[in-house]
C-alpha cells in the first residue's frame, strides 16, 4: 500500500528515518497516513537496530568586522568539511576538518593614538577531528579526538558523549565530557613582573621541536599550558505531537595561561602584556523550545540561556526564530537574538589602569570581559532536494544547499562610573562606534547518501 503525502512531508519522511532508504518513505507514509499502519511501523522501528545515514557536509563562512578610522578590524574565512560513514550496523566513523584564515589589525588597548599603533596580522588555524561511534536501538556513544594547530596555539582535545532514549522514546538524555590540553606561545619574559612583561609580537618565533607533542626550543618564546575540562548534560523532551523542549546544563574549568599574549594594556606609563587570572570556572543553563505549526507548514523556536563564572562575568541571551517551508523545496529561517553580559571583576574602562591603578593584580583589554549588549538578526535559505527513486547527482538521497547571512549590532556599556573614569569609554578602541559591528555570511552543502 502506498499512501500519498504532500511533497514536503514526503521529503521529511525520507530524511528523518534512520533505516535503509527503501524503508524510509514507506514507514513514514504509514505514520502519516493511517494510525493503525503507523503503529505497526513504529513498532518495527522500535525493534529494528538503529542505523545512521552516511552523510557529508561542506561549508564556508565569512566573518568580517570593522573598526572606525583604521583602528583595527578582523576578517575570518572558516571552511569546514565533515564526512560520516557506517561501518556495519552499529558503528560509525566520522572525520572532520576546519580552518580559520584570519587577517586584520589590532591597536594598543587604551592607546590614544591608536591609528599609528595599529599593527596588521594574519594567521591560519587547521583543525582535524576523528570520531568513532557505537549505537544500539535506543542509545549511542561517541568518542572523538581533535587536534588544532596554528602558529601560536596548539589544541589537543579528547572527548566522548553518550545519549539514551528513555522508555516511551519521548525523553532523550545526553552526557558529554571533553578534556583539552592546550598550549599557547608566549614571550619569554623570564623573571619580569606582570607590569614589566612584554607582549608577544608577530616577529617572535614560536618554534616547537617534535610537532604537537614536542617541547620548547630555547629562545625568545615559550609555550604555556592551558587545561580545559568541559561537561554537559542535556535533556530533550517531546511535550506534544508538535512541541519539544531541551534543557542543558554546562560546566567548564580552565586552568593555565588565558591571556592574549599579543595584547598590550596601558598601565601607568607602560604598555605591558595583559595579565588575568589563571583559573576560571564557568557554568550555564539553557532551555530551547520548538513548536511546529502544521497549518502554516512552519515552526517557531525559542532559546534562552543564563551564564555565570568565577571572574564575575554574568550574561544571558534570548533568541527567537521562525522557520517556513516555501513551495516544495525551499525552507526559510529567520532569527533574532539579544545578548548582554556584565564585566569581569578586574575589567576597567579606558584609562583607569593608566591613571588610577590595576584592578588588584590584574589588567586587561579583552572585550570579551567588558560589559556589552549586542543583537543579531539574520536569515537562512535552504534548497532541499530529495532523490526519490533516482539519487540526486547520482549519489545523494537528500541534498541541501544553505545560504545564511547575519548582521551583528553592538551597544558598548560602561564598566565604571564616570567619576572613576572621566575620559569615558569612547577611545578605548575595543569596539567600533558604528551600529553594525560585524556581518557573517555562510554557504553550505549538506548531503545524505
Amino acid at each position: 500500500m502506498r499512501l500519498q503525502l504532500s511533497p514536503w512531508r514526503e521529503a521529511t519522511c525520507r530524511l528523518r528515518s534512520r533505516r535503509g532508504p527503501a524503508k524510509q518513505v514507506q514507514a513514514c507514509r504509514r505514520a502519516s497516513g493511517a494510525l493503525g499502519l503507523a503503529a505497526l511501523a513504529a513498532t518495527l522501528a522500535a525493534t529494528a537496530p538503529a542505523r545512521a545515514d552516511d552523510r557529508a557536509e561542506v561549508s564556508t563562512s565569512l566573518f568580517a568586522e570593522k573598526r572606525d578610522g583604521g583602528k583595527g578590524g578582523l576578517t575570518v574565512i572558516h571552511p569546514q568539511a565533515d564526512f560520516g560513514i557506517d561501518l556495519g550496523r552499529f558503528v560509525t566513523l566520522d572525520a572532520a576538518y576546519a580552518a580559520d584564515a584570519v587577517s586584520g589589525a589590532t591597536s594598543v588597548i587604551y592607546q590614544v593614538d591608536a591609528i599609528s599603533t595599529a599593527t596588521t596580522f594574519s594567521d591560519t588555524r587547521h583543525e582535524g577531528t576523528l570520531g568513532l561511534g557505537f549505537h544500539g536501538r535506543r542509545s549511542r556513544i561517541n568518542f572523538s579526538a581533535t587536534v588544532g594547530t596554528e602558529r601560536d596555539y596548539l589544541s589537543r582535545q579528547f572527548g566522548g558523549n553518550a545519549s539514551i532514549d528513555l522508555p516511551g522514546r519521548n525523553t532523550t538524555v545526553a552526557l558529554a565530557y571533553s578534556h583539552s590540553f592546550d598550549q599557547v606561545c608566549d614571550k619569554d619574559n623570564g623573571m619580569l613582573s606582570p607590569q614589566e612583561s612584554k607582549a608577544l609580537t608577530g616577529a617572535d618565533p614560536c618554534d616547537k621541536s617534535g610537532g604537537i607533542f614536542g617541547k620548547d626550543r630555547p629562545g625568545m618564546t615559550l609555550w604555556r599550558d592551558l587545561s580545559i575540562d568541559t561537561a554537559q548534560v542535556t535533556i530533550t523532551q517531546n511535550l506534544s505531537p508538535t512541541m519539544n523542549l531541551q534543557i542543558a546544563g554546562y560546566g567548564q574549568v580552565l586552568e593555565g595561561f588565558q591571556s592574549n599574549p599579543y595584547r598590550r594594556v596601558r598601565v601607568g606609563p607602560n604598555s605591558p602584556q595583559e595579565h588575568i587570572p589563571s583559573t576560571r570556572d564557568r557554568w550555564s543553563i539553557s532551555a530551547r523550545l520548538n513548536r511546529f505549526l502544521p497549518s502554516l507548514r512552519s515552526a517557531v523556536h525559542f532559546d534562552g540561556r543564563f551564564y555565570d563564572d568565577t571572574w564575575g562575568v554574568i550574561g544571558g541571551d534570548v533568541e527567537l526564530g521562525y522557520s517556513q517551508y516555501i513551495g516544495k523545496s525551499l525552507l526559510l529561517k529567520v532569527h533574532a537574538r539579544v545578548y548582554q553580559q556584565r564585566a569581569a571583576k578586574f575589567f576597567k574602562d579606558a584609562f583607569f589602569y593608566q591613571t588610577e591603578s590595576t584592578a588588584g593584580a590584574y589588567f586587561t583589554g579583552d572585550r570579551e570581559l567588558s560589559p556589552v549588549r549586542n543583537a543579531t538578526v539574520g536569515a537562512k535559505l535552504s534548497l532541499i532536494t530529495i532523490g526519490g527513486d533516482k539519487p540526486v547527482w547520482g549519489l545523494f538521497d537528500k541534498l541541501q544547499v544553505n545560504a545564511k547571512a547575519d548582521v551583528m549590532l553592538l551597544d558598548v556599556l560602561a564598566a565604571d562610573s564616570l567619576a572613576d573614569n572621566p575620559m569615558g569609554i569612547d577611545k578605548q578602541f575595543i569596539y567600533g562606534n558604528s551600529a553594525i559591528d560585524a556581518v557573517v555570511l555562510q554557504l553550505g552543502l549538506m548531503g545524505n547518501y
Binding site: 517531546n238 505531537p241 508538535t242
Partner: protein, 79 residues
C-alpha cells in the same frame, strides 16, 4: 565549595528529579504514531551542525559568556 561545583551538585539533583518526572510523563506524552511533525528537520535542535558550530565559534570569540547551548538532536526520539 567553589560556586560552579555547588551549582553542578544542585543541578545534578534537579536534573535527576526532572529526569524521573519527564521519563514518567514521557512514556505517555507522544505516541509513536504522532511523531510526524516532531520528525521534521525544523524540529531538530542544531539540525545543521556546521551552522551550529560556526555560531558557537563566533560567539566564543566575541562574548565572555559563550558556551553551553545543549546538544543537537531531539525531535522523534530515534537514537
Amino acid at each position: 565549595m567553589r560556586k560552579p561545583f555547588a551549582f553542578a551538585f544542585s543541578f545534578a539533583i534537579g536534573a535527576t528529579a526532572a529526569l524521573v518526572a519527564l521519563g514518567a510523563c514521557g512514556r505517555q506524552a507522544v505516541r509513536a504514531a504522532e511523531k510526524e511533525f516532531l520528525a521534521d528537520q525544523v524540529m531538530v535542535f542544531d539540525d545543521d551542525p556546521h551552522e551550529a558550530s560556526s555560531d558557537d565559534h563566533i560567539r566564543s570569540n566575541r562574548e565572555g559568556a559563550a558556551g553551553g547551548h545543549g546538544a543537537g538532536g531531539g525531535g522523534c526520539g530515534c537514537n
